[in-house]
């Protein structure tokens, strides 16, 4: 019977399941999953043990055969039933695996990849089951913190929609068959020297992978290797080439920078170096004792970004006007450039003065969305200011083969269209989805005779290839990768591949004429060359253990920019009309993370939209176009309530897409922003059909912005799910912010913005906190609003995803949310972010009203939730002034999908329907440390307990500890004059307090 697994019927089963899966809409992730799991097709798919036999019943002849076989086995089974079952003893480990103590997590160093670059992480593993990702303090791109996407990659590992097999034209094949097919194709290429062979990968920083590819290319000298990522730093590379005449990668040191000028660079946003830059930036945004002088950030940008939200001065202008501004500043600094615009005169004058004052402490950063000339200008300005070597340094590129990827892909598309390509091997990339629209890559692929694809998902590109191989997740396979600056990490698997996937190294080794080898062997062989044979084992173990191979950082190279023709060339004149700006989605990036429910449901930092992208525009542009800003549908699907938003059609260069319009204060007028990464058709059940595909408009000549877009109202209206419809603070002051000048004049300015009642006011007897008293301080001055805390908390605390409809109805489950407020002028507002976990009030309004005492005060001041006592009256949530409580209106947790069961943190209850839940200050971590300390007969050390949010925070804005200990970091933070409690006038005495933010505007621009 087992032999029939390879038989034809299995494919038919799978195909029907596939259809079901494709038909399911991603927006109802968990719900539809449940439905699917209940459907017979999916049940069959999950429990494939006897998939054929089920169908035997409908086939008369097959049934007879089946009954005969089953009859015999039933008879045998009956015999055994007459006897006593032999006693079965569970044998404990004869030789227990080293280090494994049941119930105690182990952490392993590895890395998560972002655009090919490594972000060093430590992965928490419970009895061989990775459950949570933390930053690796030893890794230069992590420094112990993580960003939201890194946190969410653990969900990707367990994603049930990941590709699980080798397939040929949709039918399951064995690995052997794939190898044979590749070998046959290569054999045909051999005499041609590989002239028809093309390998397409994403950016490769892995030394091993690069060596493997180079070995293949050596065997097939006519073959070509292309790399493509839609977010690759092509402009930065070309810009450096322009400025220095040689490839160089800039590495910014924000901790050294006193004045930063960003030309549309979103360095605080997502990106391989985002965590480090956020950390360094935040270091210089704290005010108080022992802190370095505060830095000042100027941002000029054509689309609101997280960096712009944190600026002291933000200049909102169209992307096409940024170059003119850059030239004006450069001219102001005394560089011989032309093409400066006269606009924004006072800004330029003040900025130039400020930059000059800072001298070597100044830093100009150009964003990837700006053309190479702006990058070159930035380098020239830094050189002029003398900051090279201090706030910025340059090294040789980290990527194995740095190239202008857009041009590389274009030449591949050309070759394919011309019929020059016989065999295409796509490794990881998904060009059929994200290649520039003008290349018509998908169509060109059809002209290639033999197409192989290896990927985590059966994505849009897999659908256009005859062969597909399931790749193993980076957390399941051996590998290596480098971070910005060159530090190299050896990736180690945390678990055997869940779905039997192969690592990229293993797939590539098929292309080589060498015998097939495992990823582990390939990697070790490569590293033997680097680390040397002598003492290899111990050095290898050390490198794997630490998560960074010592001595792999790139040395700085001395470079000096020269003003070439680009400096005097006039920039492209600004074209009147609507400008379209392309940006990666802050959460799902270029769309590869689209099937990640955590990221889809994570409110975008500025728009607070979930489960959708939108055509973002300024209030004035919206008015001009006559589109209305909608609100969430708080009703159910059948009884809609709220106001829907207008769907507009965006036409650009002869292509068009339709998407909902969304007004974003601070967006420049006469421009729209569309976020990439949506509108996937083969992302999986979560990501399919979410949002619209902005790649359909993106062309290779204008990858980031272009003019001449047309937006028209379609008359159609849809609902979006936004978690914060409200922009303003309504004259209240949940976020308190002052300028540095005001703060220096009166350090108590922040505290005086509110009033706390005297402590005697209490109806009930005071609690005594004799042991620990846990508290938290969140520094709004350093918080940049990146959302890493929210996802870290979701991962740590088994928080479910609820789907778009439920989010729209105000039922999202995040235990820590990041509130966003706009302040001031709607055209150029200042933006405030405020993470809001439970306040753990000492006089908690929730505690007194719960009828069954399901939320109670602990003797350490925690506001504990007793899930199994909760009956769900929701009175506590109504009475919570901070609205941090979350209710399981339905059974939100997925109790059925097998792979997701592995994901859960075993230390945290998985909540069921009808129960209230909220932030616990990660009580499981508190208890773990307390137990350890007691076992070791010592007090709990300050900083030893870190809630998930604090640990993940790249800005180190969240401090947690014992407020009874006056020496603790949290006590010191709370002693700051910036400390205040939100809504403390209600006499709730919140344990979570905030340090008000201090901005550092230039007095000359006030």
């Amino acid at each position: 019977m087992s032999g029939r697994h390879d038989g034809g019927e299995a494919f038919i089963d799978l195909a029907s399941v596939r259809r079901r899966v494709d038909g399911a809409q991603g927006r109802r992730y968990w719900k539809s999953l449940e439905e699917l799991a209940d459907s017979p097709g999916f049940q069959e798919f999950l429990h494939r043990e006897f998939p054929e036999n089920a169908s035997e019943w409908t086939d008369p002849s097959g049934r007879r055969e089946f009954l005969k076989v089953m009859g015999a086995s039933m008879a045998l089974a009956g015999l055994t039933a007459c006897t006593r079952q032999p006693a079965e003893t569970i044998v404990p480990y004869v030789k227990p695996p080293e280090e494994i103590v049941p119930g105690r997590a182990l952490f392993f160093a590895t890395a998560v990849l972002d655009g090919g670059y490594a972000k060093g992480v430590l992965v928490e593993s419970h009895e061989g089951r990775p459950t949570k990702i933390e930053g690796n303090p030893d890794h230069p791109a992590s420094l112990g913190a993580t960003d939201a996407a890194t946190q969410a990659s653990i969900l990707e590992l367990y994603d049930p929609d990941r590709s699980q097999t080798v397939k040929q034209l949709g039918e399951i094949r064995s690995w052997g068959a794939f190898v044979a097919a590749v070998k046959a194709a290569l054999a045909a290429q051999k005499p041609l020297g590989g002239a028809g062979l093309r390998i397409l990968t994403e950016t490769v920083t892995s030394p091993t992978l690069a060596a493997q590819i180079k070995a293949v290319l050596a065997e097939y000298p006519q073959a070509r290797w292309h790399q493509y990522e839609p977010l690759a730093p092509d402009n930065a590379r070309t810009g450096a080439q322009l400025a220095f005449g040689q490839p160089a990668e800039a590495r910014y040191r924000l901790a050294e920078a006193d004045v930063i000028f960003s030309l549309e660079s979103d360095f605080l946003g997502r990106g391989p170096d985002g965590v480090r830059l956020t950390r360094e930036f935040a270091q210089r945004r704290r005010v108080g004792e022992g802190q370095a002088a505060m830095s000042r950030l100027y941002v000029a940008e054509g689309s609101p970004s997280l960096t712009g939200a944190n600026a002291d001065h933000r200049l909102s202008l169209r992307s096409s006007e940024v170059e003119g501004l850059a030239r004006a500043v450069a001219a102001g600094l005394g560089l011989a450039v032309s093409g400066a615009t006269g606009a924004h005169g006072p800004f330029v004058v003040a900025l130039v003065k400020d930059l000059q004052r800072a001298g070597a402490g100044a830093l100009v950063i150009a964003g990837e969305s700006q053309p190479p000339a702006v990058h070159a200008l930035a380098h020239a300005m830094n050189a002029r200011l003398g900051s090279v070597g201090r706030t910025v340094s340059f090294s040789a590129p980290v990527a194995a083969s740095p190239e202008a990827q857009s041009a590389s892909l274009a030449s591949l598309a050309q070759d394919m269209a011309a019929g020059k390509v016989d065999t295409l091997v796509v490794l990881g990339a998904n060009p059929a989805y994200h290649a520039p629209a003008d290349l018509e890559f998908g169509k060109a692929m059809e002209r290639v005779a033999l197409r192989f694809h290896a990927g985590l998902y059966e994505d849009e590109t897999a659908a256009r290839c005859q062969w597909h191989v399931a790749l193993a997740h980076p957390l399941e396979s051996w590998g290596d990768a480098r971070a910005g600056g060159g530090a190299t990490t050896i990736l180690q698997p945390l678990i055997a591949p869940l779905y039997g996937g192969k690592s990229p190294h293993e797939v590539l080794s098929v292309l080589s004429s060498q015998p097939e080898r495992s990823g582990y062997e390939l990697l070790r062989d490569q590293w033997k060359q680097t680390l040397g044979e002598a003492d290899f084992e111990s050095r290898w173990l050390r490198a794997v253990h630490d998560g960074v191979v010592p001595g792999t950082e790139q040395p700085d190279v001395p470079v000096s920019p020269s003003l070439g023709a680009w400096a005097t060339a006039a920039p492209a004149p600004a074209v009147p009309g609507l400008e379209i700006v392309f940006r990666p989605d802050p959460n799902v990036g270029d769309g590869r993370l689209a099937n990640n429910g955590w990221l889809q449901e994570l409110p975008r930092p500025l728009t607070k939209l979930t489960w959708d992208n939108a055509v973002l525009m300024s209030p004035r542009t919206a008015e001009k176009l006559g589109v209305a800003l909608g609100t969430s549908n708080t009703g159910s699907a059948n009884t809609a309530s709220g106001s829907p938003t207008d769907v507009v059609e965006v036409r650009y260069q002869g292509r068009s897409v339709r998407g909902p319009a969304w007004v974003l204060p601070g967006h420049p007028d006469d421009a729209i922003t569309v976020h990439l990464g949506f509108g996937r058709t083969r992302a999986g059940r979560v990501g399919n059909g979410v949002g619209f595909d902005a790649f359909a408009l993106r062309t290779s000549d204008a990858p980031w912005f272009g003019s001449g877009a047309q937006v028209t109202k379609t008359g159609e209206r849809v609902y979006l799910a936004c978690t914060q419809d409200h922009w303003s603070m309504e004259g209240r002051n949940p976020v308190r912010s002052v300028s540095l000048e005001e703060f220096e004049k009166d350090p108590h300015a922040i505290a005086e913005m509110g009033e706390a009642p005297p402590r005697e006011l209490n109806m009930y007897p005071e609690f005594k906190y004799e042991g620990h008293a846990w508290g938290m301080a969140i520094d709004l001055g350093s918080c940049v609003g990146c959302n890493a805390c929210t996802v870290a908390c979701q991962s740590e605390n088994n928080i479910p995803v609820v789907g778009k409809e439920q989010v729209a109805r105000g039922r999202e489950m995040h235990w820590i949310r990041v509130d966003r407020y706009f302040e001031g002028d709607v055209d150029s507002p200042s933006v405030h972010h405020q993470p809001v976990p439970c306040m753990h009030c000492e006089q908690a309004p929730c505690e007194t009203v719960c009828p069954v005492a399901a939320t109670v005060h602990s003797d350490e001041g925690l506001n504990d939730m007793v899930y199994n006592r909760c009956v769900g009256t929701r009175y506590c949530s109504n009475n919570c002034p901070y609205k941090v409580r979350r209710f399981n209106f339905f059974l939100y947790q997925d109790w059925t999908t097998p792979s997701l069961k592995l994901l859960r943190n075993p230390d945290v209850s998985v909540r069921s329907r009808g129960v209230m839940e909220k932030c616990t200050y990660c009580v499981q971590r508190i208890q773990r440390v307390k137990i350890d300390a007691r076992n070791q007969g010592r007090p709990v050390k300050d900083g030893e307990i870190q809630p998930a949010c604090a640990q993940a925070c790249p800005a180190q804005a969240i401090v947690f500890g014992d407020v009874n200990d006056p020496a603790s970091a949290v006590s010191k933070a709370k002693a700051s004059p910036r400390n205040y409690g939100v809504l403390e006038e209600l006499n709730t005495r919140p344990r979570t307090t905030y340090l008000g933010s201090v901005k550092n505007p230039n007095p000359e621009l006030a």
Binding site: T634, G635, S641, R809, Y821
Partner: protein
């Protein structure tokens, strides 16, 4: 009772209006008992009962869906954790109040006009409480646990409910209220059950009414015991009229939410409850007296008296609304101020102004005697007040919750079809019970009606 002698004349003239002339002991008994005992059920009853019963099925369906899927089928969310569920609870509890007020307080105050309406007003109370208690149980996330965890019962875990929570006070208040109301109603029914037992034609009904009569023979000792029991229960029920809605109002007043946190809530909730209750008595009695020809017993005098009570309580309620607005301004508290501005001009302003129209403006028409004595008008105004009181709770509960302290958490609220089906379903339950009541029970107290007959017609001597 000698002290009442000087007012005998006044009572006399009042009684004239409380029962139509020409009635005798026999005619009263015959008229009221026949409603329950007659063989043929009128077609209209079947129509009304059928519709109510269908609505009741909607309730059962809703509760089934609720139990299988979760309270998420309703429109509630965060920040609006309570919606139609608690609105309906407060609404129904409020409606019940008129029954207890009529039976207990008016009895103690010796208001004879209560006699012809107290029976069905008490029944109304009971049915309204039955409708009300559905909501606190089923609005919870886990009703199967809430149904008993909210009660203090000794258990091995040594767990008690949280006595600081107003919801626990609710449990005591409402369960006491339900118990006393049921006892009061039933004790009052016993003599009439005996009458029905004696007059019933069929064996089966003799047994049923006989058991319900609990061996009542009408002896002097029975009457003596009855009178003391009834008076005692009236005494017990009297504080409940005040306490139940006071406690219900504390659910809100004890919270911190602007729009909830107000000391005026207890008196103004009680007044509102009586207001809504009398409106419901009118809503029920006007069609009832028409359909069953009870104009002789429920006279215009009754209707007018009830209209006056409504006018008086309506004015108290109006005062409550005014004070809420005044305090919001006078307190200088920005959250309170915003709350009031949001009620009057926010996304749900239309409900606030409808509420003012229904509860404050419309009842002032009752100052006019011609309108006050027009049954059609009274019926309409009673419906308007019923709607107004529902809106009042809507304005207090979701409208206060949807925009509280932090603008980041502001949301909105709308009932789903399951909210509506649960609400209409309880109306179905209420009417179903009421239709059964008027078919099988004496809708007016027979023996008490006999007592208000003028002396010459066989009534008791008015000392």
């Amino acid at each position: 009772m000698a002290e009442h002698a000087p007012s005998a004349k006044r009572i006399q003239s009042e009684t004239d209006a409380l029962i139509a002339p020409g009635h005798t002991l026999a005619s009263i008994t015959e008229k009221i008992a026949s409603l329950a005992l007659k063989r043929r059920t009128p077609l209209g009853w079947f129509v009304g009962f059928g519709i109510s019963f269908l609505l009741l099925q909607a309730l059962l369906y809703t509760l089934a869906v609720l139990l299988f899927k979760g309270v998420g089928v309703w429109g509630i969310n965060v920040p609006v954790g309570w919606g139609f569920d608690i609105i309906n609870l407060v609404w129904w509890i409020g409606i019940g109040h008129a029954g207890t007020l009529i039976s207990a307080i008016l009895l103690l105050l010796r208001q004879d006009w209560r006699t012809s309406i107290n029976r069905f007003a008490e029944a109304m109370t009971l049915f309204a409480v039955a409708c009300a208690v559905i909501f606190p149980v089923f609005h919870t996330g886990r009703p199967w646990l809430a149904a008993y965890w909210l009660f203090p019962y000794p258990n091995t875990m040594g767990l008690w409910p949280n006595f600081r929570s107003p919801l626990i006070w609710d449990v005591f208040a409402i369960s006491t209220y339900g118990t006393v109301s049921a006892l009061f109603w039933y004790v009052g029914l016993i003599p009439d059950m005996a009458t029905l037992r004696d007059r019933a034609k069929s064996k089966a009904w003799k047994i049923v009414y006989g058991m319900a009569a609990m061996g009542w023979r009408g002896s002097a000792r029975h009457w003596h015991n009855y009178e003391s029991a009834y008076l005692l229960l009236a005494g017990l029920a009297t504080p409940l009229v005040i306490s139940v809605h006071t406690v219900v109002s504390l659910d809100f007043a004890a919270g911190v939410i602007p729009g909830w946190h107000a000391t005026i809530f207890p008196p103004y909730f009680v007044a509102g409850a009586i207001y809504a209750g009398f409106a419901m008595v009118l809503t029920l009695s006007i069609p009832l007296r028409k359909a069953y020809g009870l104009e002789d017993f429920i006279t215009m005098k009754h209707l007018e008296n009830m209209a006056k009570v409504m006018l008086a309580t309506g004015l108290i309620v109006a005062y409550g609304y005014t004070m809420e607005a005044f305090m919001a301004w006078y307190s200088g508290n920005p959250y309170e101020k915003f709350m009031m501005a949001n009620r009057m001009g926010g996304p749900y302003a239309v409900f606030y102004w409808l509420l003012i129209l229904c509860n404050v403006l419309a009842p002032n028409l009752l100052w006019i005697k011609n309108l006050r004595t027009n049954t059609t008008f009274l019926f309409l105004i009673s419906l308007v007040v019923g709607v107004g009181m529902w809106l009042e709770r809507f304005v207090i509960i979701p409208v206060s919750l949807h925009r509280d302290f932090l603008p980041s958490s502001w949301g909105s609220y709308a009932g789903t079809r399951y909210d509506w089906s649960a609400f209409l379903g309880t109306i179905g339950l209420f009417l179903t019970l009421f239709f059964l009541f008027i078919r099988f029970m004496p809708v007016i107290s027979i023996f008490e009606m006999r007592t208000i007959l003028p002396e010459g017609e066989g009534g008791e001597p008015k000392s």
